[in-house]
């Protein structure tokens, strides 16, 4: 069975059914959504069985689609994809079920659910895409449902927010599209074949200039999506005005797309470019950590605190990737999962508080722990995980990132560590202002967790606990894939051979002969017209 195709087709088809059947009864719509999301999660869990951690990409499903432009339906699964697939399936299942049970908007609930499911499918496609153009298709497809979700169901100020979101993202992705085409063309000059298959492009020897500019074209799109400072302009608006469930999805899942792009495409395909831009990106990440932290400290609303904390946390992920070290990169993958879990829980708590009290401001509430001890306890755990207290799941990831990055970029690690001090400041501000101190206008009893809140938060906290106690489980699944991803860039940086854990193939293989009619490959001499445009 083509399980990978099913994994992404299931939510997309389900979503389309919901959207295109306006006369569907509300009950039926809920039923479909409630069936599709858990089914997707089930398929994702099925992928765990038969996954071989020591093999690279596996379960390949490949069909020609529009081969004249290099677009093929190529799906592959490796450890990194698997981690993100699991995260996506879990978060969407929890969110969709919570929505269906309790928090559905009154206007067009079926379409709303349908859009969410389409977004899930697009994200699944993104994690599995094995072809650059296919990657781009899903990259753009994912934007569409989020555009409508924010633009139609969002809070006040959504117009401006969603416009900014789209402009930022489109700007990046258009440049990425140019990069994709250029990659194909340049690669053809070297290998003699026009292909956009990511595995086939691995190890292609671009000239240094090509590699730098191509990497930059992709990196811009990824940096905007991540977001890296200073490309985070869309973030407060989008996170702040989207319906809270959509914010959960944006922060927990979609924000991983940028980081994933760096790992899937940036490092393995353009190792020289990654080496060239390494320090620039790390500096951006470090600045983002500190800047995001101080802004989160002073942010006026609860949501914005969590939103900016995201900026800081993803900075750590970026450092982990750009340190170009297998330990750090493993930490980064773990941290993508962790951040997804923690930020989803944090937004869930914040959303709960805002909905029950009708207030968004950090200073509007107070003393809630008195009547809501369970909420206070859960919120405390989420707070601690968010500020990455040692012993939490987030700390495990962060620690591995620091261990790996310290080897080559000690300065970045030391500065980034200061960010964790600020993290304790802003997260405790959020926790204490709402839970402790003199009582505010809203009594604690009004916000105590109910059944639906438990159903949403308990699984997240449970998974966080499992990862905290046994990160080895995730690491083992991702180890080999990460080594493969990092190895080419390590080579480009002339790292000692003892650190490079995976073989980097020569591309084209030394034994292969150029095809008749193709220009001769010239891997060593630079081509005359170098630059960003083909």
């Amino acid at each position: 069975m083509p399980w990978l195709t099913i994994l992404l087709a299931l939510p997309i088809v389900g979503g389309l059914v919901l959207m295109l059947q306006p006369r569907l009864s509300a009950g039926a719509a809920r039923g479909i959504a409630c069936l599709v999301a858990p089914a997707t999660f089930g398929v994702a869990c099925g992928l765990l069985f038969g996954f071989h951690p020591n093999r690279g990409p596996q379960r390949q499903e490949r069909h020609d689609w529009i081969s004249s432009v290099g677009l093929e339906w190529t799906l592959r699964l490796d450890g990194i994809s698997l981690a993100l697939v699991m995260l996506t399936a879990l978060i969407f299942m929890i969110t969709v079920c919570a929505l269906v049970v309790k928090f559905l908007p009154e206007r067009n609930p079926a379409v709303y659910l349908g859009l969410i499911l389409v977004a899930e499918g697009a994200l699944m496609g993104l994690w599995l895409a094995g072809n650059l153009l296919l990657f781009y298709v899903f990259w753009e497809l994912m934007l569409v449902p989020f555009y409508f979700l924010i633009g139609v169901w969002g809070a006040e100020g959504r117009r401006q927010a969603v416009t900014r979101f789209v402009i930022y993202t489109m700007f990046g992705s258009l440049i990425m599209l140019v990069g994709i085409v250029a990659t194909g063309v340049f690669a053809q000059r070297v290998t003699g074949q026009f292909t956009l298959d990511i595995e086939a492009l691995r190890g292609v020897v671009f000239t240094e200039d090509q590699s730098r500019w191509l990497f930059a074209a992709f990196a811009l799109a990824f940096a905007i999506k991540l977001p890296l400072f200073p490309f985070h302009g869309w973030l407060p608006g989008a996170y702040g005005t989207a319906p809270i469930a959509v914010t959960v999805l944006l922060a927990a899942v979609m924000s991983k797309a940028g980081a994933y792009g760096f790992m899937r495409i940036g490092l393995p395909v353009f190792p020289d470019g990654a080496a060239f831009w390494q320090n620039t990106l790390i500096v951006m990440a470090v600045v983002g950590i500190i800047y995001g932290s101080v802004v989160a400290w002073r942010a006026p609303t609860m949501r914005l605190v969590v939103a900016y904390s995201s900026l800081a946390h993803l900075g750590f992920v970026a450092i982990g990737i750009m340190a170009i070290d297998p330990q750090a990169a493993q930490g980064a993958v773990l941290q993508m999962v962790n951040h997804g879990l923690v930020v989803a829980a944090a937004f869930a708590v914040v959303g709960l508080l805002a909905r029950r009290s009708g207030r968004e401001g950090v200073d509007d509430l107070g003393g809630l722990a008195d009547g809501a001890p369970w909420l206070a306890g859960v919120f405390l755990m989420v707070t601690m995980a968010s500020l990455a207290i040692p012993g939490s799941n987030s700390w495990a990831g962060e620690f591995f990132i620091l261990v790996g990055a310290f080897r080559h970029s000690a300065w970045a690690v030391i500065l980034a560590s200061l960010g964790t001090v600020y993290a304790s400041v802003y997260m405790l501000r959020l926790y204490q202002r709402t839970m402790n101190g003199p009582r505010g206008a809203t009594p604690g009893k009004a916000v105590e967790m109910g059944g639906a809140d438990w159903a949403m938060l308990a699984p997240l906290v449970a998974v966080m606990g499992v990862i905290a106690l046994w990160p080895h489980g995730v690491l083992r699944a991702t180890e080999h894939s990460v080594e493969r991803v990092v190895a080419p860039a390590q080579q480009a940086l002339n790292r000692p051979a003892s650190e490079i854990k995976a073989a980097v193939p020569a591309n084209p293989p030394e034994t292969s002969l150029p095809l008749p009619g193709d220009p001769l490959p010239q891997p060593t001499s630079p081509t005359p017209n170098t630059g960003a445009t083909p």
Binding site: R164, F229, P230, F231, H232, G233, W234, P236, G237, Y291, V294, V295, A296, W297, R298, A299, P300, P326, Q327, G331, A369, D370, P373, I389, P390, G391, A396, F399, F400, L402, V403, G404, F406, R407, A410, W411, V413, I414, L415, S417, L418, T420, V421, A423, S424, V425, L428, R429, Q432, N436, G437, P438, R439, L469, W470, P471, H472, L475, R476, K501
Partner: protein
């Protein structure tokens, strides 16, 4: 030795906490809470005791037990296990934590009797005991750090126990944030060790550190300094000490257990545990010793003007830990641990007696509102007297032996040791003075004007018994190591100290130090008696008026708080405010517009937030200097 016992020791308090948390949304019966809260710690103590007896039956080199639960991570060859280490050093800590812990938890059952959140208190206390045990039982740096952070969390929760009180909430946050800074220090030390040694478990690290780090190398110094950042934050050493006095916002048993007997001495444990690393880093060791000496002196001076009984004890704790840190920095590891032991007894004793006094007066903490209490609380009077004599260093009470050992051996530990020994002696005079100032003002003299706010009442046996036991320990605790007679601590800890330089005091030094520290105690107590004891404390007022500037300076606690606020807190806050108000609304291509925005609106901006901008630029300068410094140290 049985691994299962070690795991039960560690996990019993955790189980107690989980049981209390899980016992439903409503407050369970007090009897159940008491049973679980105290019982779980008692079980833990019993297991620790059993392990101790087993350990006594072993030869020196067989006294270390490592037990692994599972592999926590295997990161490209960096293997990290969830495993425990029980050796003489951790055994000593375990006994004190669970032993003193049981007594204090028992005491709390009555002390907290009027509280409506009874269950939460015991759940958090049990969590603390678990975390503290994890800290001392961890067999590698990773779980040491985890325990380190968890005790910080427990401390945060218990300082902020009365969470409706803004002062308690603020104190809790301050303690937490400063301790996170300490955690960062530990993490940086650990990542450096991981880079240089390629392992994080104690056995491997300590075995290969001399080769992998190199004696006196920059790397070794970096590791030692970063470990000390952690130790200083946790053990309240200058300049990271400011949270501990504020931590007195927590209930008194919490202060006794966490902020006197156990958690705050974790820094001492850390340095002693990492003795190999400190022996490789002579400069860092000296820095540690000097920081300890500065702390012990500064805190002692501040303690002389405190008016709140718990704050006197808090500053005294800071000062006494200063002695331990100083000793550890000088390489007197056994001396540091010996003083940790006696201090755990007499300081817990004094806090608990203070608790009885506060309880008897229905929450009154100002020593001005006390006085003459020996007539109402005779047992407490005797016990507090024992504690004060012990801390002042009067033989045969326990503090005499441990403090004397530090001062005598410091004198023979090189030039720096001589200087610091003298500082320690000066501290001893101050210690005797401020403790007996408190003692005389609370228990002697006239009753406060207008009488007590609440008729003093004696506690029941539940509260008295633990205090009496601690009183006995505070008397005899020092007898396990009497100069020239026996060496209980030295012999016991020997297998854990892989790099003990073995500094011993000569006989001449020994006798001279005994004479001098006795003199110090007598002078301190005598002066306190003249001012606060004799004649009902009439001379007190004159003294306070004579040096107003000095008094002000001491009352401001050497002005550390405003200094730290200006240098660290305010710049970040103002940068955040400026960013929220100015940069962020424009979107972040707006960071580009930040430049033009600053240029065009410079005047307006400066006027609007003049103060803020100065701090922002100060922050920028600090950050820039930090970056350059770090780049110079580590750039290659």
């Amino acid at each position: 030795m049985t691994p299962a016992l070690a795991w039960i020791t560690l996990l019993a308090p955790l189980a107690g906490m989980l049981l209390l948390v899980a016992s439903g949304g409503r407050e369970p019966s007090r009897g159940f809470t008491r049973l679980v809260g105290v019982g779980s710690v008692a079980v833990s103590f019993a297991c620790a005791l059993a392990l101790f007896l087993q350990m006594l039956g072993k030869d020196d080199h067989e006294r270390a037990l490592v037990s692994t639960a599972w592999r926590w991570a295997d990161l490209e060859g960096l293997r990290i296990d969830l495993s425990l280490l029980v050796d003489p050093l951790s055994m000593m800590m375990m006994l004190v934590i669970t032993g003193v812990g049981s007594l204090i938890v028992l005491y709390s059952t009555e002390y907290m009797g009027h509280d409506r959140d009874y269950r939460r208190f015991f759940a958090e206390m049990d969590f603390f005991i678990f975390a503290m045990l994890l800290l001392v039982m961890a067999a590698n740096f990773v779980f040491l750090i985890v325990g380190w952070a968890f005790v910080g969390l427990a401390s945060y929760l218990l300082i902020g126990y009365y969470y409706e009180k803004p002062a308690a909430v603020a104190a809790a946050k301050k303690a937490f944030v400063i301790n996170v800074l300490g955690d960062v220090g530990l993490v940086l030390a650990a990542v450096m060790i991981a880079r240089e040694v390629g392992a994080l478990d104690f056995a491997t690290v300590f075995a290969s550190a001399p080769d992998a780090l190199g004696a006196g190398s920059t790397v070794a110094e970096f590791v030692a300094v970063m470990l000390f950042v952690g130790a200083a934050a946790k053990s309240a050493q200058v300049p990271l000490h400011t949270w501990l006095p504020d931590a007195m916002e927590g209930p008194t048993p919490v202060s006794a257990l966490i902020h006197a007997a156990t958690m705050v001495t974790a820094g001492v444990y850390l340095i002693v545990r990492c003795n190999v690393l400190y022996q490789l880093a002579p400069h860092a060791s000296e820095m540690v010793a000097i920081a300890g000496a500065i702390t012990l002196f500064m805190a002692a001076t501040i303690a002389t003007v405190q008016e709140d009984i718990k704050r006197v004890l808090a500053w005294s704790t800071v000062s006494q830990i200063g002695y331990m840190i100083m000793a550890a920095g000088l390489g007197l590891y056994t001396g540091a641990m010996f003083h940790f032991l006696t201090h755990a007894f007499f300081k817990a004793l004094m806090f608990l007696v203070a608790g009885i006094v506060i309880h008897a007066l229905a929450g009154e903490q100002g020593i001005d509102r006390m006085g003459g209490l020996r007539r109402y609380l005779p047992v407490s009077w005797v016990l507090m007297g024992v504690g004060c004599l012990a801390i002042a260093g009067v033989p045969p009470f326990s503090g005499f032996f441990s403090k004397d050992e530090i001062l005598a051996r410091a004198w023979d530990a090189g030039d720096l040791g001589k200087v610091l020994s003298i500082v320690g002696l000066a501290g001893a005079v101050l210690t005797a003075f401020y403790m007996f100032r408190m003692f005389f003002r609370v228990f002697h003299g006239p009753e406060p004007e207008g009488g007590y706010d609440h008729e003093p009442h004696n506690p029941t046996i539940i509260m008295t018994l633990p205090v009496v036991i601690l009183g006995v320990l505070a008397v005899v605790g020092g007898w396990i190591q009497i100069p020239t007679v026996n060496h209980g601590i030295n012999t016991w800890l020997d297998p854990s100290l892989l790099a003990d330089p073995g500094i011993e005091a000569s006989h001449a030094t020994e006798w001279r130090t005994i004479a001098m520290s006795l003199a110090a105690a007598v002078v301190g107590i005598g002066v306190a008696w003249m001012i606060f004891g004799a004649g009902g404390g009439r001379r007190r007022i004159e003294m306070a008026d004579r040096f107003p500037a000095l008094r002000r300076f001491l009352l401001d606690q050497w002005r550390f708080d405003p200094m730290i606020d200006d240098a660290v807190v305010a710049p970040g806050r103002d940068l955040g405010d400026t960013a929220v108000a100015r940069f962020e609304p424009r979107g972040a291509l707006g960071i580009a517009s930040l430049g033009s925005g600053l240029a065009t609106g410079a005047g307006r901006l400066v006027r609007a937030s003049q103060n803020g901008m100065v701090r922002v630029s100060a922050f920028g300068v600090v950050l820039g200097v930090a970056i350059v410094a770090v780049a110079m140290i580590l750039g290659r």
